[in-house]
């Protein structure tokens, strides 16, 4: 009888020429919370997919509770007491909570009897672990934090003793994250073993007992959390020293370049997405817009970029005024020196099937720099793309490679290069580091700060609160389409902003957050 809940030895898995897992070893003791960290593409997800039976390893052995096992599909994994909370929730939006939990674990061919049994069992589980969810609510209408609890309940209902959570905090507010960690601690105290897959070092430090680091498909280190630090883990993940904070001088604030007056945005369903928002952004500063995803930031950004029209109010960018009557368009904005790095790069930032050099001129394809008469000057396009790639360290530096074949970080660097090299006066940036590796994050953050130093007005929309806190000079907090408040960076802390993101006014939030530990200052933010 081994004291390990789970032990993987010599796991290999290749997808064609790509070796996703190389001789991976991982041992997790019973009842511990164990973190697995690594950059995108480090092989974490492949490893977890092997554990949950999505793939079978090419070679290697898996032991669960000391017995050698073979996991061929999710069914096998569930039978062995392995439960998984996926990054993208595996829920049916139109089903109730109860139906979602029952799906695949019904007690008989008729639903009525299954429902009675499941309801009783779920109420017991909710009690035991403090996981409260209304069982008869339709899942699609619940906040993500609740949806995640349903995923955990699903796993527990199936008798999970080993729970795998894949990037569980990506979609949560800081408060929801705290609540999740409480739940994880409660599960741990009941003897559940937890594997936490994440790239957020702070979470590893906050909640795990042990941590394993992956890089390039290999397991590069195992540490007890108490014996390591975020700096060491970051270095192990990236393979070199990483600066997690950003040096910036005090801002040299210039004239007002973005002015938003009583902006209202109503979508095609008649829902008010942005409600009476007013603010300004000046040359030489970065203003961060914090908020849980879907609270009007995207719409705000799209109106500023000229993609959508305001419903009421107006925005003035570098002297161009957009009103409901004359909203302008993205081309007009670009002509006036407004650059836009969209939130969803796959939908708005690039065309996956285009070569990198075509992506590199999107939006600027009609400028003289890349045209000769009525034809594109392809030599110039290629040359400029090569320069952008060199300057922004895009890998591989091949202008004819399809855009979709670059990693997320390199796609993002190419888009940033496209927008930044035009020396814009205003830079609108949405989620600059979504799905981007830690090494590339460091680079992107530096570039954004350099734009600010160059006197550009930068509006940064991000759901990563750490990013907002690292880069911004002022922080605007949005909730349900409204501007909850503005906080200068000197007075900003995570708890206050987090509370404000849920709609609590600044004064109240600051009071409620007061007992926060003072150690937050100076802590590395990743």
């Amino acid at each position: 009888m081994s004291s390990y809940a789970l032990k993987l030895t010599g796991i290999n898995k290749a997808f064609g020429p790509v070796q996703a897992n190389k001789d991976v070893y991982l041992a997790v003791a019973k009842g511990e919370i164990h973190g697995v960290i690594g950059e995108n593409g480090a092989g974490k997800s492949t490893l977890m997919s092997i554990l949950y039976g999505f793939y079978e390893a090419d070679s290697g052995s898996i032991e669960v509770g000391g017995d050698a096992v073979r996991i061929r599909n999710s069914d096998d994994a569930i039978a062995l007491g392995i439960g998984m909370v996926h990054q993208h929730f595996m829920l049916i939006d139109s089903f109730t909570v109860l139906e979602n939990v029952m799906l695949g674990a019904e007690s008989g061919p008729m639903l009525a009897s299954s429902e009675v049994k499941a309801e009783a069992e779920l109420l017991r589980l909710e009690q035991e672990y403090g996981l409260h969810v209304d069982l008869n609510a339709e899942v699609g209408g619940l906040p993500v934090g609740q949806q995640q609890r349903i995923e955990i309940l699903k796993a527990l209902y199936r008798g999970a003793e080993i729970l795998i959570l894949d990037e569980p905090t990506g979609v949560l507010t800081p408060q929801e994250t705290d609540k999740l960690f409480e739940i994880l601690q409660a599960l741990k105290s009941q003897g559940v073993t937890i594997l936490l897959i994440t790239h957020k070092l702070r979470e590893i430090m906050a909640v795990t007992d042990g941590v394993s680091v992956m890089r390039g498909g290999e397991m590069v280190a195992h540490r007890r959390t108490a014996d390591t630090s975020t700096e060491e883990l970051a270095e192990l993940m990236v393979g070199r020293k990483v600066r997690l904070d950003v040096d910036k001088a005090a801002p040299h604030v210039g004239e007002t370049l973005i002015q938003v007056d009583h902006l209202m945005v109503t979508d095609h369903r008649g829902v008010d997405r942005v409600k009476d928002v007013s603010f300004t952004v000046n040359a030489g500063e970065i203003v961060g817009v914090a908020g849980v995803s879907g609270n009007g930031q995207s719409e705000l950004l799209q109106v500023l970029a000229g993609i959508d029209a305001p419903s009421k109010g107006r925005v003035v960018l570098v002297g161009v005024t957009a009103t409901p009557e004359s909203p302008g368009d993205p081309a007009q904005r670009r002509r006036h020196g407004v650059a836009h790095v969209p939130e969803d790069r796959h939908r708005l930032g690039l065309v996956g099937k285009f070569a990198a050099q075509e992506t590199a001129i999107l939006g600027y394809q009609a400028t003289d720099a890349v045209n000769k008469g009525m034809f594109l000057d392809l030599d110039a396009v290629r040359e400029q793309t090569e320069m952008m790639m060199a300057e922004f360290d895009v890998r591989p530096p091949d202008p004819s490679l399809k855009s979709a074949n670059f990693s997320g970080g390199n796609q993002q660097k190419l888009i940033l290069a496209r927008e930044m090299t035009k020396a814009p006066k205003v830079l609108l940036v949405g989620q600059p580091t979504r799905g981007v590796d830690i090494g590339a994050i460091e680079f992107i953050h530096k570039q954004l700060v350099s734009m600010r130093e160059a006197g550009c007005a930068v509006l940064l929309v991000s759901v990563e609160l750490d990013e907002i806190l690292t880069l911004s000079d002022r922080i605007l907090v949005m909730c349900a389409g409204e501007l909850v408040g503005e906080v200068p960076i000197e007075e900003a802390d995570e708890r206050t902003i987090g509370l404000m993101m849920t709609g609590v006014p600044r004064e109240e939030a600051a009071n409620a957050a007061a007992p926060a530990p003072a150690s937050q200052e100076g802590e590395a933010r990743v």
Binding site: D75, L91, S94, F95, L103, P109, M110, K154
Partner: protein
């Protein structure tokens, strides 16, 4: 007044008959589409079923054997659709259209080769068909005013298959909403990845759905060839498979509302038949062509304007590929 009442009842009676293949096909489509497989091939499967029923009834003289073979033929076409769209993740609309086109051609070719009657199957006697059956107690209940007349004129006197179609609706509703299979069926059409991670085979679940779909189309075809008519005639499905699909969408992929839509389309058809050659006040005699086109025109109008946005199963038409 008495005459008008009887006229209404006769129209109702015709409506049930005309709606029967629509109901079978709409329920068939419901199983397939709720599982996430678009089925534009209802038409072809029904036509193949009709041909099989007509041919087997002509050869064996046994209506039940005809039904059995029709169901088998239609199910095998459903499996072809499944093989193309589930196993090989092909385009579901193209696969369905291919089935429709090949069945339209094959039935005529085979019919000509086997029976030499211009693609038609031989006309059948009553013993080889599903003839109208008189429900028990028509004599006594029929004597009761109003209710008795309704019972005798509209409800009694249909082919067994009409009653089976009516039974198929509550049965479908029960399977879809009250059973484990139904829960999984609805789930796989919304988010197959969730079903997969719950340890259920998406492939097998979808195959079962298309097989049920095929079986029900076989019933529809059987009714066309040896219930409503006395032989198979080329292209006898005449677009009813598409109308059934429209009814399914009109009914928002729910059994009872889809049933209601089938009845509306059936009623339009029945009224169209009644109106032929009738002088209407103010309008005069309506041209036959216009009346025959009426159900189709209304279909377009209803679908375009009156149902609002029909919310389809989320994963419909998208082949399931495991992530990464």
């Amino acid at each position: 007044m008495e005459d008008l009442f009887v006229l209404v009842l006769r129209t109702f009676d015709a409506m049930l008959r005309v709606a029967t293949p629509l109901i079978f096909c709409a329920m068939a489509g419901l199983f397939s589409e709720r599982s996430g497989i678009v089925d534009i091939g209802l038409e072809g499967k029904m036509l193949a079923g009709a041909f099989a029923a007509g041919a087997i009834a002509a050869v064996t003289g046994n209506a039940w054997a005809a039904l059995l073979v029709a169901v088998m033929v239609s199910m095998s076409l459903a499996l072809v659709h499944g093989f193309a769209s589930i196993t090989h993740r092909g385009d579901q609309v193209i696969s369905g259209v291919a089935i429709n086109l090949s069945v339209a051609g094959l039935t005529v070719v085979l019919g000509n080769a086997w029976f030499r009657q211009g693609g038609q199957t031989p006309t059948l006697g009553a013993e080889a068909r599903f003839m109208p059956i008189t429900l028990p107690g028509v004599e006594t209940i029929g004597a009761i005013p109003i209710f008795g007349t309704i019972y005798a004129e509209s409800i009694s006197g249909h082919s067994l298959l009409v009653y089976l179609a009516l039974a198929a609706v509550p049965l479908t509703a029960w399977v879809v909403y009250k059973t484990r299979f139904g829960l999984r069926l609805r789930a796989v059409g919304e988010n197959p990845a969730a079903v997969d991670t719950a340890g259920i085979s998406v492939t097998w679940l979808r195959y079962r759905a298309v097989m049920i779909c095929g079986a029900l189309c076989g019933f529809a075809g059987t009714f066309l060839a040896i219930g409503q008519n006395a032989s198979f005639v080329r292209d006898m499905s005449a677009g009813q498979g598409y109308i059934a699909l429209a009814a399914l969408i009109f009914g928002k992929w729910r059994p009872w509302t889809a049933f209601g839509a089938c009845l509306i389309f059936g009623l339009l058809d029945a009224v169209a038949i009644r109106l032929q050659g009738v002088e209407l006040p103010f309008i005069g005699e309506v041209p036959v062509q216009l009346i025959q086109a009426l159900p189709y025109i209304l279909t377009v109008v209803l679908l375009a304007g009156f149902i609002g946005r029909a919310v389809a199963p989320k994963a419909i038409g998208v082949p399931y590929v495991k992530e990464r």
